[in-house]
Structure formats: C-alpha cells, structure tokens
C-alpha cells in the first residue's frame, strides 16, 4: 500500500505520522511524505501609472524562508525514519502553492497513485476554534481514496 502522509510543521502532523508508523505501517508499504508550503502571492503595487520596482529582495527572502522551512521538515521526518527498525520505503514530495493547499495534496495523492491519505485533524492554521482544519476538511471531502484523520 502506498500512503501519503500530509504534513506541515505542526504537532498534529507529527502525531499523525507517529500514529501511522505505530499502528498501521507494514514493511511492504511505501510512504510518501507530502508537504505543501504556502507561498503568499507577490503583487506589484501600481500607483498613478508608475509600476513600483519589482520586489526582488523580498521575493528572494521569501524563497529562502520557504526553503529553510521545507528543509527543517525534511530533517525532522528523516530523523524519525532513521530511528525506526528496518528500512522504510519512503519519499519526500514538496510543492509550493499560494492557497488551495488541500487541492494540491489531493492532486499529489492522485499523481502518486496513493492508496490512502493520512492527515492530522488540524495544522498550523490561524483559526483555532475549528475542530477540523480547512486543509484536512478539504481532503476528506475531495480525496478519491480513503482518508485517515488523526486527532491529537
């Protein structure tokens, strides 16, 4: 079985990852650790007919930040995988997108022909009151394969 574990930097995602390996994983499974990084959109201010200079520095800084974030995540999960008994067939897949994170993850699952998507119930989102985050919610409603939602 090929499993997509959708992760972000949250504890919830880490818990979902741990739970999967603690209770579901079998040696013959292949695990895809998928992360969709959010990149806020860049816009060019346009005042009175004059286009402001393209914010190259900001753009570079944002890219660096995203790269750092992605690298941190990768390291975190690589370490966890190294500490496990036996070899785990796994791959990291990253995408960077403006919004529609859920959509990107469902597309990823389709593209990689995953048999299941594993997600935490909530991630790093801003709206803390909701029980089910917007990304997990989207995945549950739109995935074409079974979805495992891990609550903390």
């Amino acid at each position: 079985m090929r499993a997509l574990i959708a992760v972000d930097g949250s504890d919830n995602a880490e818990h979902a990852f741990d739970w999967y390996f603690g209770n579901i994983h079998k040696d013959e499974n292949e695990v895809i650790i998928g992360h969709v990084a959010e990149q806020p959109s860049i816009y060019q201010p346009y005042f009175g007919g004059v286009v402001a200079p393209f914010p190259v520095n900001e753009l570079e800084e944002m890219i660096r930040k995203t790269k750092r974030e992605v690298h941190q995540l990768m390291t975190k999960f690589e370490n966890k995988l190294h500490q496990m008994d036996g070899k785990v067939h796994h791959r990291f897949v990253f995408d960077v997108i403006n919004d529609a994170t859920g959509e990107a993850l469902v597309r990823l699952a389709d593209k990689e022909k995953c048999d299941i998507i594993i997600t935490g119930s909530r991630g790093l989102g801003v709206v803390r009151r909701t029980i089910l985050g917007s990304v997990s919610g989207y995945i549950v409603h739109h995935a074409h394969v079974p979805v495992l939602v891990c609550h903390k």
Binding site: W19, I24, I116, I131, V147, L148, H151
Partner: protein, 152 residues
C-alpha cells in the same frame, strides 16, 4: 489495538470493511464490528463470537421489534461469515439506541476501548448527494481516536 468498524447494511460499509482487512489490519488487532439503530427505547443485544452472551439488566419488558431483530441477524450472519475462518479476534456489537447514531458510535468507541474507527463516507441515508453522510461527519468531528473515512 482494537478497531471499531462501523457498519450498516450498505455496500459502502461492506467495502470499507474489506478494505480495512486488506490494507489496515494487523494480526494483533481485534475487530469490533459495530452497528447502531435508532430506537425509542433502548435495548442492547450483545453478540460475542457467535452466541448471545447475556441479557443485560436494563432489558425492558418490551422486546426488540422484529424488523430490528431480523436486521441484526442478517448483519451478524454477513460479518460472521467474513471473519469466522480467518483467525481474527473479533466481536459484534449491535445496539438499538436512543442517542443519535453518531453519538452512539462515538460512545461505542469509548466503551469498547477502540484505538481507531473505520467508517464509510456515506451509508444508507436519504440525502444521497451529500459527500459525507451525517453520521460519518459527526464521527469525524467528535471522535477522540483516528478515523478512517472510506469513500466509495
């Protein structure tokens, strides 16, 4: 780990069950096949591995209506046939409850000390257009343990 597989008479429930067995199940898991039916007054029939174990103390003079008894028998036969010869530890818990179905299922997870729950995305509900049935939706939002939602 004990896993509750929430079933009704629908095909999705059966497919979810089969999917669980093929992809999720580990030999150390114990399966609880749970089925709840709404009833004005509560009667709890408890089947363990093939025989009615005991009549609960809160048994009312009123018997289970015949249709519900028949439904239970049919489901019992169906799932017994699937599990009997496979050396899987399991138990069937069928309940006629005064609670809402979603609530009853979440309570069953607690009562049976299950570590995960498997449910179809939709069951036999009237609103066929909904992507996620009301019971599965409730369970997904209120379960304290991971929920596997199986889409058709």
């Amino acid at each position: 780990m004990k896993v509750l597989i929430s079933v009704d008479g629908s095909e999705i429930a059966e497919k979810a069950f089969e999917w669980y067995l093929e992809n999720f199940h580990k030999s150390q898991n114990e399966i609880v096949v749970g089925h709840v039916v709404e009833k004005p007054s509560a009667y709890h029939a408890h089947f363990a591995g093939g025989a009615v174990s005991s009549i609960p103390k809160d048994y009312l003079a009123e018997e289970i209506p015949e249709e519900i008894q028949r439904e239970f028998q049919l489901l019992k036969k169906k799932y017994d046939a699937k599990l009997k010869n496979r050396e899987i530890k399991y138990k069937l818990v069928f309940e006629a409850t005064q609670d809402k179905l979603g609530e009853a299922i979440v309570k069953m997870v607690d009562k049976e000390h299950c570590g995960a729950i498997v449910t179809g995305s939709r069951g036999m509900g009237m609103i066929k257009r909904a992507i996620l049935g009301s019971v599965s939706d409730y369970v997904m939002h209120n379960s304290k343990v991971p929920v596997l939602i199986y889409h058709a």
